[in-house]
Symmetry: C2
C-alpha cells in the first residue's frame, strides 16, 4: 500500500502518548490529547459535509489549531488548503472558489476577512472560528464543534490521494493551486529525516508561516519522527529569540530574511540560543555574509539548506551540515546543495537536454516529490511538468560533484549587451557593503544594451551610503558589466507571502508599455 | 510521481561518479562503471525479449553481478525474481514457472542446476551464465551480452509497478511469490536510512544471501544513500571476519545464527573488526547471551535490529542503537523494537481487534511496506492482508512504550495443559547452558496434555550434556510447565534459506497421521 500522513500521528501516539506534541502560548497538548483532538476535528469536518478529498481552508497565523487542521482534515478524509495570509480578500476568494473550498477556518487575526469572504466567495458554505474570544456572528466555534464531535475513524486516504492544495504565484497573474498527494508530502518528509534535518528528540520551532510549503515540510519531517512542536503565531525577530530561549527549541526553520533580521537584532546577543541544534533555511538565496553572522549567533547549531518550490513538496536539493561546516573554502556556502534522497536534478537547455556541468541552464527536478499538477489547469501542468521533470523556472549550474548553484530565476536574469547577468550575484556583492540591508537587482530597458543592471536597495538602520559608493563597491568585487548602472534607495522592498522579494513589482514601472521576454 | 529505485543509482552517479560502488573478490567498479554496466544489462535484457514488468531470475551466490542484476533488470523495465539458493531444482522450477520467469541468470555454483532446470521448467527460454570460466553449452555469456549491448534509457518503472517477486514458504506447502513494488522497497529503504541503519559513507558488507529480503533491504538502504558494497559470495564465519578486516566494512547485516557462528569462531579475536560501525541483525530471535558476546567482539559497533518478513519488504519494527546501548536493564534486548518510520504495528486477537498492551496476540502490520500481494494467489493474499493490515503469523505482545516482543510463530506456540508455551522463551533458556549450540523447541502430541514441550538440541564442538542436565538447567530459569519434557540431540538443525530453523520438519515425524491446528 501507499504512504499516508496520519500514520505519523498514530505511530507516535503508540510509542509516546505523554510526549508533548504542541506548545502554543500557554496551551500545551500531549500526543494523546493531540491525537484525540485530531480525531474529533476529522469527525466534526465530516459532520459539516466534508467528503473524501474535499478541500478545507485555513486562514490564520501559526497555532496548535493550525496543526490540528492539517491532521484533522486528513483524518477526516479531506485535503487542506492553507491560505496565504498576506493576500487580499479578493485573492483569497479567488483561490477558495478556484478549488471549491466550502469550509474555511479563520482565527482571531482574520475574523474580519472571514466575514468579508462570505460576500466575495461563491464556494464558501461554512466558516469556523478557531480564535479565542467571542465567535463572530454566522461562524461556528471550533472548540464547540470539537467538544460535540465523536472521535471518528481515520479515513485512510493515501498514496496519490490529494492531501493539499497550496496556492502559488498570487502576486503575478492568477494564483495556481499546487496539488500535492500524501505520497508527495511523505516522500519529502522522509528525505528530510533521512538527511538528518530533524530527529525524534526535536523541539521544532514553527515560526515561519505554516501556510507555506517550507514550514509545511519542516512540520511534516518533524511529525514523521514524532517530535515536539513549539509554535509561535508569526515571525518577529524578538519573538524568535524569546521563543527559542523559553522553550529550548532545537530545530528552527527560517527564510534568509528572517535569519538576517534575527541575528541583526540589537538584543540578539542577550538571548540563550544554545538549545538550537539545527537551523534549516531556504526559500531564497542567502548571502554568505548573513550566513557567517548566523553561524556565530547560533554557535551550537548545524546549518542545513533546502532549495525547492511548492510544486516539489517542496525540496529539490539539500546542503547538509557537513558541507556547511567544511565547505566554505570550496564555495559550497553559495550552493543550494545536491539532489535530496528522493529527487533527481538536472540543468537543462531550452529543449530539455542536459547541459555540461558548469553551464547555466534551467533547473529541472524529478522524483516522488513532484506535484500531482495544478488544480484545474492541465495546460499549465503540462508546461511545468514534462516527462516527469518539473521545470522550476530557476537558472542554475551544477558542479562536477553534483552541487547545484542557483544563479537566478530564469526571468530575473538580466541580458545586458549580450552578457548574462545573474541578479543574485550582484545582490551578493551589494550585501557585502556594511550599509546595505537588503537589495534587489533587476534589468531595466536600455536602448543601447537591451537591459541595464539596476539596484533597489534598503539601508541598515542608521547607516548611509550613496549610489556612487555602492557602485564603486561592486566594482571591487564583480566584473564591470555586472555592476549596477543605477541605484535606487527605498525604505523597504515589496515581499511575497513566502518572504521573497517581488521583483516583478519592481520591474513593472520600468517596463510599462514595453515587452520583456519574461516578467 | 511515485518512487523508483533507479533514482538511487543516477543520484549517486551524479554526485560521486568515482566512488567505489562494488568490491567483489578482485573486481572493483566505480559508480560510473557500475551505472554503465546496469544500463548495458537493461538493454541486453530487453534485447532478450524482456517486456515491462517481466520477471528475470537470478540463481547464484552473492556477487557484484547480482547487484547489477537487480538494478539492470529495473533499468530495463523488468522485475527481479531472486531465487532461493537452498532450494532443490524442482522447487526452483516450480517458482520460475509459477511467475513465468523466462530469463534466468546462473553463476558458476549453479550452472549444473541451470542445465537441469531447462528440462524441468516450462517457462524458461533463456539461460545467461554470469559465472567466470567457460560458458556452458546452451547458455549465453553475461559479459558478452553486456559488451554487445548499447546502454539504453531507463524504463522508469515506478510506484506500484512490480519490482520484485520473492518466494517464501518453500519448505511448507507450495512456495508463494511475494510481489513487491518500487514504492514498497523504496519506503523500506528510506525508513532504514531515516532510522540511521546506513549512511552515505557506509561500506556495506553483503554476506547474507542476496536473494533474501533481509539482504535486499540492506542493499536498498545502502543504495538509497549511495554507499559502497563489499560483496562476499556466501556466509562463512571466517569469510565474514576476513572480509570485514580486509575491506574495512562499516555496516554488516547478519542473521542471529551468523552472528553466533562469527563471534564463536576460535580465531575471531585475531581479526580487526574495529571498522564496523553498525551491525544490523534480524530474521529470527536472538538470544541475549549471543548478543552480549557480539557486543564484545564488535566493540566499536552499534547494534540495530529489524524484525519483519518478506511480505513487508521486509521491515515491520526496528530496535535502534540507543536502545541496544541503554535498554538492557529494561529488557529491550529481547524486543524486536517499534514500528519503523513507514509502518504501524498492532497486536490483534482472532477477530483482528487490538488486544491490551502486554497481551499476546498476532502481530499485524500496515504501511507503505506491505506487499502488493502473492503472485497469482488472490485468496492467500486476501487471507494475509486484511483492510491493509498484513497478518504476520507471529505471536507477540507490545509494552506501554510501543515495543514489540515476538514470543513465537503463531504455529510454533505450544499449548500444553491449557497453558501457552512460547518456544522462543524455552530456547532462550536452553541457550544459556554453556554446552548448547542451537536449539529448537516444538510441541509434540500428548494424550494427557494435548502437547508437551520437546527440545531438539545441538551441542557446541567438544561440549557435552545430558537431556536430564538440560531439563534441570531450564527448571532454574523458567516455569515448570514451560520446561522440556524430552530432549533430543542432533548434529545440526534443518534450516531454511533465510537461516531459520525448519520447525515444521522437526514436528513432522511426531504428527504424522495426526492433526495439529497449524503446521
Amino acid at each position: 500500500m501507499a504512504q499516508y500522513l496520519t500514520q505519523y500521528l498514530r505511530r507516535t501516539l503508540q510509542a509516546h502518548p505523554t510526549r508533548v506534541a504542541t506548545i502554543c502560548g500557554t496551551r500545551q497538548h500531549s500526543y494523546a490529547q493531540y491525537a484525540e483532538r485530531v480525531a474529533r476535528l476529522g469527525a466534526a469536518l465530516r459532520g459539516l459535509g466534508m467528503q473524501p478529498g474535499d478541500r478545507v481552508g485555513m486562514l490564520g497565523l501559526n497555532s496548535d489549531r493550525y496543526m490540528e487542521f492539517f491532521f484533522g482534515t486528513w483524518w477526516g478524509g479531506g485535503s487542506v488548503n492553507s491560505v496565504n495570509i498576506r493576500w487580499s480578500a479578493a485573492e483569497v476568494a479567488y483561490s477558495l472558489d478556484d478549488c471549491d473550498t466550502r469550509i474555511l477556518l479563520v482565527d482571531e487575526q482574520f475574523k474580519a476577512m472571514g466575514g468579508e469572504l462570505r460576500g466575495l466567495c461563491k464556494a464558501l458554505r461554512t466558516l469556523v472560528y478557531c480564535g479565542d474570544g467571542d465567535t463572530p456572528e454566522g461562524m461556528l466555534n471550533y472548540e464547540t464543534l470539537m467538544a460535540q464531535a465523536i472521535p471518528g475513524a481515520d479515513a485512510m486516504r493515501a498514496g496519490n490521494d490529494l492531501a493539499a492544495v497550496m496556492y502559488t504565484g498570487g502576486t503575478t497573474g492568477f494564483p495556481k493551486g499546487v496539488m500535492l498527494s500524501h505520497d508527495n508530502l511523505a516522500a519529502n518528509a522522509l528525505a528530510l529525516v533521512g538527511q538528518g534535518a530533524v530527529n525524534p528528540s526535536a523541539r521544532t520551532l514553527l515560526i515561519a508561516p505554516m501556510f507555506h510549503a517550507a514550514a509545511n515540510a519542516f512540520m511534516m519531517g518533524t511529525a514523521a519522527v514524532g517530535g515536539t512542536f513549539v509554535i509561535a503565531p508569526m515571525f518577529t525577530p524578538l519573538g524568535a529569540l524569546q521563543t527559542i530561549q523559553q522553550h529550548r527549541a532545537t530545530h528552527v526553520l527560517l527564510v534568509p530574511t528572517m535569519i538576517q533580521l534575527t541575528v541583526d537584532h540589537p538584543d540578539a546577543g542577550q538571548y540563550d540560543l544554545s538549545s538550537v541544534q539545527t537551523v534549516v533555511y531556504g526559500g531564497s538565496v542567502i548571502s554568505e555574509a548573513v550566513l557567517q553572522h548566523a553561524f556565530k549567533r547560533f554557535s551550537k547549531a548545524d546549518f542545513v539548506q533546502a532549495y525547492g518550490m511548492t510544486e516539489l513538496s517542496p525540496c529539490a536539493t539539500y546542503l547538509g551540515a557537513e558541507e556547511h561546516r567544511t565547505g566554505a573554502a570550496r564555495g559550497l556556502l553559495t550552493s543550494a546543495g545536491r539532489a535530496t534522497l528522493t529527487t533527481e536534478v538536472r540543468i537543462v537547455d531550452e529543449r530539455g537536454s542536459e547541459v555540461p556541468r558548469g553551464t547555466v541552464g534551467e533547473v529541472a527536478v524529478r522524483g516522488a516529490n513532484v506535484m500531482l499538477g495544478y488544480w484545474n489547469k492541465p495546460e499549465q501542468t503540462a508546461a511545468a511538468v514534462r516527462d516527469g521533470w518539473m521545470y522550476t523556472g530557476d537558472a542554475g549550474r551544477m558542479d562536477d560533484d553534483g552541487y547545484v548553484y542557483i544563479v537566478d530565476r530564469m526571468k530575473d536574469m538580466i541580458v545586458s549587451g549580450g552578457e548574462n547577468v545573474y541578479s543574485a550575484e550582484v545582490e551578493n556583492a551589494l550585501s557585502k557593503h556594511p550599509a546595505v540591508g537588503a537589495s534587489a537587482v533587476i534589468g531595466i530597458p536600455s536602448e543601447q544594451w537591451g537591459e541595464t543592471v539596476h539596484a533597489v536597495v534598503t539601508l541598515k538602520p542608521g547607516a548611509s551610503a550613496t549610489a556612487e559608493e555602492l557602485m564603486a563597491h561592486c566594482h571591487t568585487l564583480i566584473a564591470h558589466y555586472k555592476c549596477p548602472r543605477s541605484v535606487e534607495f527605498r525604505p523597504a522592498l515589496p515581499m511575497t507571502g513566502a518572504g521573497k522579494i517581488q521583483k516583478a513589482e519592481l520591474r513593472k514601472p520600468y517596463w510599462e508599455g514595453r515587452s520583456r521576454a519574461v516578467n
